[in-house]
């Protein structure tokens, strides 16, 4: 039927006995273009950044090797401590809140209800639009003098005298809300996908046993969504630990560094103060942080995962 032809990317079938080797060769050929692009344009610059993190590179001047000096400086730099705390604070609040909201929305929108399609679309629309652009709108809405949102909030008694973004204790919650607003739809859709894969027979059986909605959720929905939850929590954590866009537009890390995350700090140190070697060291500290936290999460979820 099909005559095999040495197709682009495939290997000619000369030694039918060595199927394993043939597959391996095909695999590398399939990955070749990706490897080339990633190697040259991602991995190579990354390795250079890694090298530069051991130097005093200032973009315009030649790099001088200083060993672990940048990393040592990090440990005693209060600005780094501040950015680290802010980053963890941001991630520790937005990750669980986004995931919980996404689950709630998915549960609500998985049942039959009027306007379901419209509501799903509305929740997802913030995901597809540019955060840098809508963040401008958000700043305007929160403006203490002419902002519609702060006006409405003040009418129900929530007055922020300086305005949300200028108030040292409210700026962080404001950028968090925008971050959650932007991403919750994405996680909701992932949860919807998970919910639809749960066989309805399981629920019917539980109903016959007389289980109410909460036990049904506890015993069927939640455990069967474990894989989803793991993936969502890990993706959300990676994203929140790299929060940048809305902070860059709305507060620029201020007031007095109260919203400066590690990525914001990298930008400031590298682009504004030219200390690129030090900025690279901060980034690598962040990569390490993300890596360790992701591994911890995987380990945690692995231990608790249930399969039916």
């Amino acid at each position: 039927m099909t005559t095999s032809v040495p197709a682009a990317g495939g290997a000619p079938r000369r030694r039918p006995g060595s199927a394993g080797r043939r597959q391996a060769r095909a695999a590398w050929l399939f990955m070749l273009p990706t490897m080339a692009v990633l190697g040259v344009f991602v991995v190579w610059p990354m390795l250079q950044a890694l090298y530069l993190s051991f130097t005093d590179y200032e973009v315009f001047t030649p790099a001088r090797w200083i060993g672990l000096e940048n990393y040592r400086a990090l440990l005693s730099d209060p600005a780094f401590g501040n950015a680290l705390v802010n980053t963890l604070y941001y991630a520790a609040v937005t990750t669980p809140v986004s995931v919980a909201l996404a689950l709630g929305l998915a549960l609500l929108l998985n049942r039959r209800m009027p306007l379901r399609g419209f509501v799903r679309t509305a929740v997802f629309v913030p995901v597809v639009i540019s955060l840098a652009v809508v963040a401008i709108a958000w700043s305007f809405l929160l403006d203490p003098n002419i902002g519609l949102l702060s006006h409405w909030l003040s009418q129900i008694g929530i007055v922020s005298e300086q305005g949300w973004l200028r108030d040292p204790s409210l700026a962080m919650p404001a950028v968090m809300i925008v971050g959650i607003w932007k991403n919750v739809g994405f996680y909701m859709v992932m949860y919807l996908a998970g919910l639809q894969s749960i066989p309805t027979a399981l629920y019917e059986a539980a109903r016959v046993d007389g289980a109410g909605p909460w036990p049904r959720f506890r015993r069927i929905t939640w455990p069967l969504l474990a894989n989803q939850t793991m993936l969502i929590v890990i993706l959300a954590a990676i994203a929140t630990l790299q929060a940048f866009d809305q902070i860059f537009v709305m507060t620029h890390g201020g007031p007095f560094f109260r919203t400066e995350t590690l990525v914001m700090m990298t930008y400031r140190i590298g682009f504004k103060e030219f200390q690129f070697g030090y900025a690279a060291a901060i980034s690598w500290a962040l990569v390490l942080l993300i890596f360790v936290l992701s591994m911890l999460q995987v380990a945690y979820f692995r231990k608790r995962s249930v399969t039916y």
Binding site: E58, P144, G163, D167, P168, F256, F271, E273
Partner: protein, 432 residues
């Protein structure tokens, strides 16, 4: 079928290759342009996105059509975008030949040899410094060498909203003359009509971050400052600085004469939307305020207890170290043209900035009333952080956050400013 899928792949690859090559050759390398024939092309970047944009474009296009040896290719972008793009592009040699920037920003680049000293462009054959505003030329000096040629120069002035003065029972033609009047007027002009503790109208708009220097003027007026005039000593813990900061921070936090946490753009917007009665700012806002229908006056900022002083500020042309030979000659021609009598008359008429030259007569300047106003008292102006190598660190990383902490009541002035003083001193010492 098989064929189709392969054809598709081949077409794809070809398309990508074609697209790539089609655009190749558009990439522009830096360094010297070829020496043979044709005009020398200079890439020129600046941040004049405001109402003065048209005036900048006007002079550049006049220069380009006035001769055929030099061609200026200009890109205008907002200043923050400008600086973000400048760093990687200068680092790799794909940046502009000429970059215009606030003189306070120049030393950061000059110290890293990105720009070249321009002393040899000055002189009778080139740019005659004797007819230029002295302080603007001096502001380009870093470690004894001039790294720039003035592109503009101005002082900051007090703007006040005359309608609001009338409403508050103040004489609309009499701006405050000293600190007592300044504070007193500001209090009278602050109104909390609905009594929720947050004023609907402020006496003053003063920015504490991302702004042209406003607070340092108040420090200078009391004999203090952020750093000393020679740029060697931090002055934030000087009693005069602390006294000035305490006085105005008190009026802002207790009497609420101004909102806390404004950026420069916020402050401009507040005055423009008639929610603040006074602001200290430059001539670039006149157009915006006129368009908003504000009846405003302009005067020297009120005198302080120790000095009658305001901020002088200048944007200067700089030249990349890579632009040598022909390019440098071409740049000198352009800088000289920009600072010629004719161009400067055009500049002040169309931008509202005072001219960079001191030899233009009042008659030549009558095209724009603001031009002369902002040129007055140039001798009572002072440049902020002139010649200080690490402007960014001193101003945005250390000074502004300290000021914001004080205004937000996070810590005592002596302690916060004292700490910032030490850190600024360390930055200054490190750069010596």
């Amino acid at each position: 079928m098989r064929l189709r899928s392969r054809t598709w792949l081949v077409t794809m690859t070809a398309a990508i290759a074609l697209m790539s090559t089609a655009c190749a050759g558009q990439g522009q390398g830096g360094g010297d342009a070829g020496g043979s024939g044709g005009p020398v092309t200079l890439k020129f970047w600046n941040g004049f996105t405001g109402p003065d944009r048209a005036a900048v474009e006007g002079i550049v296009s006049k220069f380009n059509s006035s001769q055929d040896k030099v061609k200026i290719e200009m890109e205008i972008m907002p200043w923050d975008v400008f600086f973000d793009k400048l760093l990687p592009s200068l680092g790799s040699g794909t940046g502009p030949d000429i970059a215009a920037m606030d003189t306070a920003q120049i030393p950061q680049y000059a110290a890293r040899n990105v720009f070249q000293p321009l002393d040899d462009l000055y002189g009778p054959q080139g740019i005659d410094e004797n007819v230029l505003v002295r302080s603007a030329v001096d502001a380009t000096v870093f470690k004894g060498k001039r790294y720039g040629v003035p592109m503009n120069f101005t002082t900051l002035k007090l703007y006040w909203n005359k309608d609001m003065f009338r409403e508050a029972g103040l004489d609309p033609d009499k701006p405050p003359a000293d600190w007592d009047e300044f504070g007193d007027y500001a209090r009278k002009l602050t109104k909390d009509t609905d009594g929720d503790g947050k004023p609907e109208q402020y006496g003053l708009a003063i920015a504490d971050h991302a702004t042209i220097a406003m607070w340092p003027i108040l420090f200078w007026q009391n004999g203090g400052g952020v750093v000393s005039e020679d740029g060697r000593t931090a002055m934030l813990d000087d009693p005069a600085t602390i006294e000035a900061a305490r006085h105005w921070a008190g009026l802002i936090t207790k009497d609420k004469i101004a909102p806390v946490g404004l950026s420069g753009a916020d402050a401009d917007k507040l005055f423009q939307s008639k929610k603040a009665a006074m602001e200290i700012v430059g001539p670039w806002m006149t157009t915006g305020f006129e368009q908003a229908g504000i009846d405003f006056g302009i005067a020297m900022p009120p005198a302080g207890p120790k000095a009658r002083v305001t901020l002088g500020t200048s944007v200067a042309f700089t030249l990349s170290s890579r632009a040598t030979g022909q390019k440098k000659q071409a740049a000198r021609d352009f800088f000289a043209y920009w600072n010629s009598k004719e161009s400067q008359a055009y500049w002040s008429a169309n931008s509202g900035f005072p001219p960079n030259r001191t030899d233009l007569t009042a008659d030549e300047l009558k095209g724009n009333p603001y031009s002369a106003l902002f040129g007055q008292d140039a001798d009572k102006s002072r440049f902020y952080l002139a010649g200080v190598q690490e402007f960014q660190k001193v101003n945005e990383t250390l000074f502004e956050p300290a000021l914001q902490r004080v205004l937000n009541g996070k810590g005592d002035i002596e302690q916060v400013f004292g700490q910032a003083d030490k850190e600024i001193q360390a930055v200054l010492d490190n750069a010596q």
